[in-house]
């Protein structure tokens, strides 16, 4: 009987296993093999380099920049996105009508083309445009939004936050709607204020949603491409240079598929370590307050 169920289990899992094999295991194995070569993918000849590509990548200032950039983005993106998503979710949850329409409206930026959004941002930041003229006139300041390394990071991070806030809000909304009303009723009977309700009931109950949002956010910051590609090309002075930009540049501009593959694998290692650490941190935090 157990064998019968085991066979059925394998059979039912087989589509996913096959998918994983074809789209994950095989490409990963191929990528590891490619990372040991000097090859452009189209030449008939290729040279085995062993670990030389990795050694070169670990010495490259461009790769060093790509390692740091996600954390620069995260420092702005995560607090802004979490705060904005939480506010959006609370607002949607508090309205009685059109909840679905509101949720879709806030979700739309996530669906918007990154290229189109980047071009709009570029237009908004036009030196002679209304926004820049307003800032110059009113604040007597002339910030170089994309030419100053710090401001370029801020601009791209805020743009990403605009894009992801609605998406994350949906996760928080699902979390909010799963909180039993009885908890609030009991707290209200005890005279709890809305502020106390939020910090003592809502926020702890949203811990699983926050956990998901943080893991997704960390992952997203390691794969940013379109926005810096269109707006800064990784500049100024590599301040917004990301892993994906480096992989793209090495593969399609320099035709170094083997080296690009080694960079991609280093990226994967960094993502794995970062996500692992964030998970551990979240579990420690949740465990400390008994939220898990």
């Amino acid at each position: 009987m157990q064998r019968y169920f085991s066979r059925w289990g394998w059979l039912l899992a087989s589509p996913y296993l096959l998918f994983t094999l074809v789209f994950f295991v095989v490409p990963l194995g191929w990528g590891v093999w490619l990372s040991t070569l000097s090859w452009d993918l189209i030449s008939p000849s290729r040279e085995f380099l062993g670990l030389q590509n990795f050694a070169e990548a670990l010495r490259s200032p461009r790769v060093h920049a790509a390692m740091l950039t996600p954390f620069r983005f995260m420092a702005i993106f995560i607090p802004v996105t979490v705060a904005a998503a939480l506010v959006i979710a609370l607002v949607i949850n508090s309205v009685k009508r059109f909840q679905g329409a509101l949720a879709i409206a806030f979700f739309l930026p996530y669906l918007a083309s990154g290229v189109a959004a980047a071009l709009v941002v570029r237009g908004v930041l036009d030196y002679f445009g209304p926004f820049s003229s307003f800032v110059r006139t009113v604040f007597r300041a002339d910030p170089d939004w994309l030419g100053n390394p710090t401001l370029a990071v801020v601009t791209i991070s805020l743009m990403m936050a605009w894009k992801f806030s609605g998406y994350d809000a949906l996760i928080f909304l699902a979390g909010l709607q799963s909180i039993p009303h009885e908890l609030y009723e009991a707290a209200n009977l005890d005279g709890a204020t809305p502020w106390v309700n939020f910090w003592q009931i809502t926020f702890p109950m949203l811990y699983p949603s926050l956990y998901t949002v943080l893991i997704l956010s960390v992952g997203a910051m390691f794969s940013v491409f379109t926005e810096p590609f269109i707006l800064t090309n990784g500049g100024p002075q590599l301040a917004t240079h990301t892993w994906t930009l480096e992989i793209y540049y090495q593969l399609f501009s320099s035709l170094r598929a083997g080296y690009a593959s080694s960079v991609a694998l280093l990226n994967a290692v960094q993502v794995f370590v970062a996500v692992f650490l964030v998970r551990r941190l979240m579990e420690w935090w949740g465990g400390r307050y008994g939220w898990q």
Binding site: F128, F229, T232
Partner: protein
């Protein structure tokens, strides 16, 4: 029986029909030209089908071509190939040496391009790209703005330009001489339109790389860096994001390619040559004499035939290419449709083009500049080289982080390191 014979004949005709997959540049006017050529060719060669598709820009045409070649889904033939990318394809043995195909010499003679083709030779002496057009880059000046400043003739040398700029900034601090955010960016191909355009002029078209060695004219390169630095120091440059600054008059000087005018006809019909703008050669260092031809950068592109296409398709593609370019009327059709000057030695003298050039005086100057237009560097590391030129040279020199001499030395060292010591 009769039905079987008919079906057999149909199957035979389908089997003998040859399909050539042609990837055109992702520019509607170029795609239109090739679609018309394919249609016309089909009428005289019904056995050959030329399927024209714009190169998917995902995110660049080079990336799309490479991805398709690596995936085995590449075209038979494609245009939009500049010589640097051609060098990468050549190193990967991905393209056919066109001069080994039958009728090469006849094609050069028919198209009158014996001189123009010379700069397209690859290190092994073969020709892998058939150049289609050459955009000799020129500069535009807003003469309406110059006249407001009391300047009748557009400045020619670096010092003259700085003088005009000083007057401009004094009279209108909200107006800039040149608006170009990309001067500080590390986008490799942007160096064509700021560094190389001036370097070619300052060096009289001196080579930049020969083999694996940087042989650039040091004095000219430093002069270019120094010129941009002085412009920036004087507040003449706007290195910020800005849309159509020259067109709306927020800047008064800009590099212009011939592709600009089709866009202007649509969006800025008020801009007319001789009325509110003029075209000039690139500026030159003060010591360069007037009245001599000025070299410039050539944004030139051509077509290649891919090695991994089936042999019959390659042959059919070459026949199609010969058919298109052996007739000057097709080059005229190209010029009319795209406004991109065909790469011919006789563009300015061939009667076929006279009427069109008369109707489009702005293009006359571009046609005349072709003999002095220098194509991009021929090296497979072009992207890395020009990125190093940006990061170590131009950007720090413009910002004033390095002296022009130091910036050039650093850039040269970085570029040479990429080529091997």
């Amino acid at each position: 029986m009769r039905r079987c014979l008919l079906l057999g004949a149909l199957a035979l005709s389908l089997a003998s029909a040859q399909e050539v997959r042609f990837w055109s540049a992702p520019n509607p006017s170029q795609t239109q030209f090739w679609e018309e050529m394919a249609q016309a060719y089909r009428e005289v060669n019904p056995d050959v089908t030329i399927t024209v598709t714009p190169i998917p820009e995902s995110p660049t045409s080079e990336a799309a071509i490479l991805a398709s070649l690596a995936g085995g889904t590449g075209p038979t033939i494609s245009e939009n190939i500049f010589i640097g990318f051609g060098a990468q394809l050549y190193n990967a043995s991905a393209v056919v040496p066109l001069n080994t195909l039958p009728g090469w010499e006849e094609l050069l003679a028919a198209r009158n391009m014996a001189t123009a083709i010379e700069t397209w030779a690859f290190p092994d002496g073969n020709f892998y790209i058939l150049p289609i057009y050459t955009n000799a880059m020129l500069f535009g000046w807003r003469i309406d703005a110059l006249q407001e400043l009391g300047v009748e003739t557009p400045p020619r040398t670096y010092s003259e330009i700085l003088e005009v700029c000083a007057t401009l900034r004094e009279q209108n601090p909200n107006r800039f001489l040149l608006a170009r955010a990309d001067l500080l960016s590390n986008v490799w191909w942007q160096r064509w339109f700021d560094f190389f355009i001036l370097y070619d002029a300052a060096s009289n078209g001196a080579p930049f790389i020969v083999g694996n060695e940087i042989v650039a004219d040091d004095e000219a390169a430093v002069a270019v860096f120094d010129f941009y630095r002085r412009l920036n120091e004087a507040g003449c440059l706007l290195t910020r994001e800005v849309t159509t600054p020259f067109e709306v008059g927020n800047s008064i000087w800009s590099q212009l390619g011939p592709w600009t005018f089709a866009n202007w006809r649509e969006n800025f019909p008020e801009l007319q040559l001789g009325e509110n703008f003029v075209l000039t050669d690139p500026p030159v260092p003060d010591e360069m004499p007037a009245g001599e031809p000025v070299y410039t950068f050539a944004d030139a592109k051509g077509l290649v035939i891919y090695q991994n296409a089936p042999e019959e398709a390659r042959e059919a593609a070459w026949e199609f290419v010969r058919w298109v370019f052996s007739d000057p009327a097709n080059d005229l059709a190209w010029f009319e449709t795209t406004n991109l000057p065909p790469t011919r030695d006789d563009l300015g003298s061939n009667e076929t083009f006279a009427a069109f050039l008369e109707e489009n005086p702005a293009l006359v100057q571009y046609a005349e500049a072709i003999p002095y237009a220098v194509p991009p560097i021929v090296n497979q590391n072009f992207a890395d080289i020009q990125t190093a030129l940006s990061e170590q040279g131009l950007a720090p020199a413009v910002r004033g982080d390095k002296t022009p001499e130091q910036a050039w030395e650093d850039a040269k060292a970085a570029m040479q390191a990429l080529l091997g010591e």
